[in-house]
């Protein structure tokens, strides 16, 4: 029994935190091989080989793999699949695009956002925006699933797995990369940040959202947003925390001007400490908050930013 773990590579760099957390989820399942497949895989493969719990790194490098397109990556994974009992990946936009395609090509189901691996066939996963947790037994010959990384801690480094080259398969040439518009940011990544500051509808405008960003920067935090804030154009979609955005579990989550719809709570309720700042004292977010501050965010947030200066300078 061995597991193929699909790793994500961005501009030659391994998404190390996500891979390290997925490795910890896979620990009950035996030998793990990490597939590093991109246009520029050398450094990422080296990085993967150092993670604990990796017994082999498969490195594929080809221009067709450079932009994470589902069709060539799925074809590659299908070619490797016969050697594996499980195929897994961190639950990200990258893998959610690819693994269901792989599953259908292998005539098996896919499980998304697994939060617990009981044994080789049995997995927990949230449904209904995390309002219910299902325990599911799979009867498929190959189990394919994505892992909700916020439910696991990262494995450490210190490994030295061998790196093996593997060939890309012929690109089916069904889709073609045009461009990536990515926001380069000095801030920590939302899904691995120790502190997340999120703003919601109550923030009022895109301009006023700068106040949330200032507070986050002061705390060395990642910036998040509710679906409402994204819908209203206050914040970009890749900041969205919730059922249809990212799921985070930082040590400290500050929800500012967020009422706390179940879809938002689904994305942050596993945070260690939750602080909610809202003028409506009946806001549902207060039901999950460890510390509730009722009041006008437009005076509270600048005051908090100013007073935290001492803490973080």
């Amino acid at each position: 029994m061995s597991v193929l773990l699909l790793a994500e590579v961005n501009q030659g760099r391994l998404a190390t935190d996500a891979v390290a957390k997925t490795l910890s989820a896979l620990s009950p399942l035996g030998e793990v091989h990490v597939l590093v497949a991109s246009g520029d895989s050398e450094a990422a493969a080296q990085e993967a080989s150092r993670l604990q719990g990796v017994s082999r790194v498969l490195m594929a490098q080809d221009v067709s793999l450079a932009h994470g397109l589902a069709e060539p990556l799925a074809a590659l994974i299908v070619s490797l699949a016969p050697a594996y009992s499980h195929i897994a990946a961190p639950a990200t936009a990258f893998s959610k695009n690819i693994l269901p395609r792989v599953a259908s090509l292998l005539d098996v189901m896919v499980l998304s956002d697994v939060t617990h691996v009981h044994d080789a066939e049995t997995f927990d996963r949230p449904v209904y925006a995390g309002n219910a947790i299902q325990t599911v037994v799979s009867a498929d010959p190959i189990k394919i699933f994505t892992v909700r990384t916020s439910s696991f801690s990262a494995v450490g480094e210190g490994g030295s797995a061998p790196i093996e080259r593997t060939d890309a398969v012929a690109d089916p040439e069904l889709s073609f990369w045009v461009e990536d518009v990515s926001v380069v940011s000095e801030r920590p990544d939302l899904t691995s940040a120790r502190v997340v500051v999120s703003g919601g509808r109550g923030v009022g405008s895109k301009e006023k959202f700068d106040m949330i960003i200032d507070l986050a920067d002061r705390m060395g935090a990642a910036v998040g947003a509710s679906r409402a804030a994204v819908d209203l154009g206050y914040a970009p979609n890749d900041w969205q925390v919730g059922q249809t955005g990212k799921v985070v579990a930082p040590e400290l989550y500050l929800a500012v001007g967020i009422s706390g719809a179940i879809q938002h709570l689904a994305g942050m309720k596993d945070s260690k400490v939750i602080v909610a700042i809202n003028k409506d004292e009946d806001a549902p977010v207060f039901r999950v908050a460890d510390y509730a501050l009722v009041g006008d965010l437009f005076s509270i947030v600048p005051e908090l930013t100013k007073k935290l200066e001492k803490q973080f300078s």
């Binding site: 932009h67 994470g68 397109l69 589902a70 069709e71 936009a93 695009n97 693994l99 269901p100 395609r101 599953a103 259908s104 090509l105 189901m109 896919v110 998304s112 949230p126 209904y128 995390g130 219910a132 947790i133 299902q134 325990t135 037994v137 799979s138 009867a139 089916p172 069904l174 889709s175 073609f176 990369w177 045009v178 461009e179 518009v181 990515s182 926001v183 502190v195 705390m219 970009p236 979609n237 890749d238 969205q240 059922q243 249809t244 990212k246 040590e251 400290l252 309720k269 400490v273 939750i274 602080v275 999950v288 510390y291 509730a292 501050l293 009722v294 007073k307 935290l308 803490q311 973080f312």
Partner: protein, 253 residues
């Protein structure tokens, strides 16, 4: 150009679901059901492409219980031309798995020969985010998931995708499967006259047996429980008190 839009009947977005105490699932009796919100976005996009003269026919498809007629009527009222209901179960508690749904859709694609399938990216009940990608795999078609913008030109779709860390634009040759993300559009409200008109549009019923698809589940749900609940914490009265608590009580700053 012909488009198929699959639509799913799910527990309404605003309903707080209740988990049955015996662990057998979530309570679906007397719960408001609606069209999956991402599927509404998919229907809206197809209708807009029709209004631009790019699409000539929209076929809405729902797979599941007979009651899914409701969501098909909504799709027709939004502007779909006809509907196909695939009767796959009589048990409202049985969720037809994405693999089976994709196989049924692939069979209908063979028969209907559309140029494009636009689906919602995810159903808000099982949260699997899989059907579109699986359908593209089964058909050997290209896919563009999590779309926030779609342009059709010269036998291709140019699709902007919502990805982690920003946006990606891909060109996918038609026929293809596109899945709709949140910001693709804002679905229209259906007007009463359109609801009346929708009643006269064709709604064809098919069965899984006649389509010859095996829908036997691959996954067995052995238990459904409520997640651990967080309890409400304490009220703080000032920023100073908040900082003090975070520092000395919670130890997180």
């Amino acid at each position: 150009m012909k488009v198929i839009v699959p639509v799913k009947r799910v527990v309404d977005y605003n309903v707080k679901v209740r988990v049955r105490a015996d662990g057998s699932g979530v309570e679906l009796t007397n719960v408001k059901m609606s069209m999956n919100p991402f599927d509404e976005i998919a229907v809206e996009e197809a209708v807009r492409l029709k209004e631009k003269g790019i699409v000539s026919e929209i076929v809405a498809v729902s797979i599941g219980v007979k009651q899914a007629q409701d969501v098909l009527r909504t799709a027709l009222a939004m502007g779909a031309d006809r509907a196909i209901l695939v009767d796959a179960t009589s048990d409202v508690n049985q969720d037809i798995e994405p693999l089976a749904v994709a196989k049924i859709l692939a069979r209908l694609v063979e028969q209907e020969q559309p140029d494009l399938v636009i689906a919602g990216k995810q159903a808000i009940d099982n949260d699997l985010n899989a059907t579109g990608q699986m359908l593209a795999g089964l058909l050997g078609w290209g896919q563009a998931t999590f779309a926030s913008e779609i342009k059709i030109a010269d036998g291709s779709a140019i699709v902007t995708r919502e990805v982690d860390g920003g946006l990606q634009t891909v060109r996918v040759s038609l026929p293809a499967v596109i899945t709709a993300d949140l910001r693709l559009n804002e679905p229209r409200y259906v007007s009463l006259p359109n609801i009346m008109k929708a009643k006269k549009k064709p709604l064809e019923e098919r069965t899984v047996a006649e389509l010859d698809i095996d829908t036997t589940p691959r996954l067995k749900v052995v238990r459904t429980i409520e997640p651990p609940q967080r309890s409400a914490g304490v009220r703080v009265s000032s920023v100073d008190e908040l900082i003090e608590k975070l520092k000395n009580e919670a130890g997180v700053i």
